[in-house]
């Protein structure tokens, strides 16, 4: 399944990865899969199947208990701290629980990744304003997370994850709190990014979206991951990304 590493650059690669938290049993067991540059995957599985855990390995919140995770061609546990930071800057994450900073307004929350990489304030103002308008929050730019509805908070979280045009976007249930129309709109945002080359993984329970967009699906069950590519959808219309399967 794994292509020759030296000739096929992959964004992320799991090689015999098992993972468990300090307490409990293995959440993920011996996973082998890879994400090609520009690919778009849905990540599914029942609640507690390990979707969030898998994503956390991809953004290096945890290290695998066994096996090897490679990101952007480098093995994670061999990286220096500063190299990890450099890789993290290329990753955008929409957390299932948003993780907005309550003491910052929507604008400053979204601006955070840009400020960390030291972007110019004038550019930050321009990009953040544009993006917040795109997700329909131009009026709530100065609102604090507590003053926003669940769906609005979710959109701020999404805007924050994509503001720095990451190479890898990991979205954990990003449409759980919005109506179908907004869910589709947000997925089109991901699609736009994907067309620009961003590799995307969206964890979701929303079968409607999965059907509509028809991207390959990584399904977690019993700690194992199964890749399925829907036959009836014309993926090439939606994404130019390379698909890799078995």
């Amino acid at each position: 399944m794994t292509p020759n590493e030296s000739i096929s650059p992959v964004i992320a690669e799991f090689n015999g990865v098992s993972f468990r938290y300090k307490i409990g049993t293995d959440v993920l067991k011996d996973l082998h899969f890879s994400l090609a540059p520009g690919s778009f995957h849905f990540l599914t599985g029942e609640s507690g199947a390990g979707k969030t855990s898998l994503l956390s390995l991809l953004y290096m919140d945890h290290l695998p208990t066994k096996g090897r995770v490679r990101l952007f061609g480098q093995t994670v546990d061999s990286l220096k701290r500063s190299e990890k930071a450099q890789i993290r800057r290329q990753i955008g994450v929409v957390f299932q629980d948003y993780r907005l900073l309550n003491h910052l307004n929507a604008f400053d929350n979204v601006a955070l990744p840009l400020r960390i990489i030291g972007e110019k304030e004038s550019d930050i103002r321009k990009h953040v304003t544009e993006l917040l308008a795109w997700v329909g929050l131009e009026k709530q730019m100065r609102a604090y997370p507590e003053e926003l509805s669940g769906g609005e908070q979710q959109r701020v979280a999404i805007a924050r994850a994509v503001i720095h045009k990451p190479s890898l976007l990991l979205a954990d249930e990003p449409t759980g709190n919005v109506d179908d129309a907004m869910a589709q709109r947000l997925l089109y945002l991901f699609l736009e990014l994907n067309k620009l080359g961003t590799t995307i993984v969206v964890a979701t329970h929303n079968e409607g979206l999965i059907q509509k967009f028809g991207f390959p699906r990584l399904h977690l069950h019993g700690g194992q991951v199964h890749l399925t590519i829907p036959r009836n959808s014309d993926i090439s219309k939606l994404t130019k990304g390379e698909k890799n399967g078995q």
Binding site: K84, R89, L101, D108, L112, P113, E121
Partner: protein, 296 residues
């Protein structure tokens, strides 16, 4: 527009606490350090007075103004034998008339016959400054055996005072070191408390690719800023008290800056809050860096 560093400022529990701690620490430290310098300066001046020799005076006239004649020579012999057997004494010699003349010339002129004056006999005693004789004992021995001899007594309490001052300086040094420990402890404790509260925020910015150095310096600068504010205020409170203290002891003689604490020493004192802030900076830096290691 929020501050660029706004992500760090979620927790302001330490905001007021921190400067207050420094105000207090620098206040106490500056007062102690200043008093120490003052004592040190006084000590130096006194020590110039306590030379390597002392003088014993033997009266040549009794209380009624009668010349004691032969008795004087007896007293001199007795006194010399006592002094020469006292440990810490290098040598003891009676000043002859030429030496007396030199000694008195500034006051009475060079060509006055000393025999005409009711001058006492003087014994010059060279002492070992590293191991000076026990003057109290010497004084007592003399007063019993040679009642007409007198030892310059203010030297005695001066040596005592010098000893005491050394002790005081040592004590001040120890307290200053304790203050530094307190500052290090307080800063690392408050930093840790603050980090604990902000853990989700730090986890988030770490996850976004903020480098350790970036997060660490943000904290360290904040500590530096707050400690400088506190330290400055602490120094401003302590300085007038020090000046008043010196004034009480010295009066407004020449100037506070030439007798009590010299100008350079005031600058040194002003460096004290800076040193404290520097310690706060380094301590915060190390605490945060250590804390960040928990994140992969």
């Amino acid at each position: 527009m929020a501050n660029k560093n706004a992500f760090l400022f979620a927790d302001e529990t330490t905001r007021f606490y921190f400067p207050w701690i420094f105000l207090l620490m620098v206040f106490i430290g500056t007062l102690l350090c200043g008093s120490g310098l003052f004592v040190y300066n006084c000590l130096n001046r006194w020590q110039q007075g306590v030379s390597e020799s002392l003088t014993i005076q033997i009266n040549t006239y009794d209380d009624n103004g009668v010349f004691r004649a032969e008795a004087v020579n007896e007293d001199i012999e007795k006194a010399l034998s006592i002094i020469r057997t006292t440990p810490g004494v290098r040598e003891a010699n009676v000043l002859d008339e030429n030496q007396m003349g030199e000694l008195m010339a500034p006051w009475i002129g060079a060509d006055v016959n000393l025999m005409d004056l009711p001058l006492p006999k003087l014994i010059d005693v060279a002492i070992d400054p590293k191991n000076p004789p026990f003057l109290e004992q010497l004084k007592m021995d003399l007063s019993i055996q040679v009642p007409n001899a007198s030892l310059d007594s203010h030297r005695i309490w001066l040596t005592q005072l010098v000893k005491l001052s050394h002790r005081i300086l040592q004590l001040i040094g120890i307290i200053l070191i304790l203050i530094i420990f307190t500052v290090v402890f307080t800063v690392s404790y408050t930093t840790r408390a603050s980090l604990k509260i902000q853990e989700p925020i730090i986890r988030l910015v770490h996850m976004m690719g903020a480098k350790d150095f970036y997060i660490t310096t943000k904290y360290a600068w904040r500590s530096l800023k707050r400690s400088l504010i506190g330290g400055f205020l602490g120094f401003c409170c302590a300085a007038p008290i020090l000046v008043a203290l010196i004034y009480c002891f010295e009066g407004m003689s020449d100037s506070i800056f030439t007798t009590g604490i010299y100008m350079e020493q005031w600058l040194f004192l002003a460096g004290y809050p800076l040193l404290m802030s520097f310690i706060a900076f380094i301590t915060t830096f190390k605490s945060v860096l250590g804390y960040l290691k928990r994140f992969i």
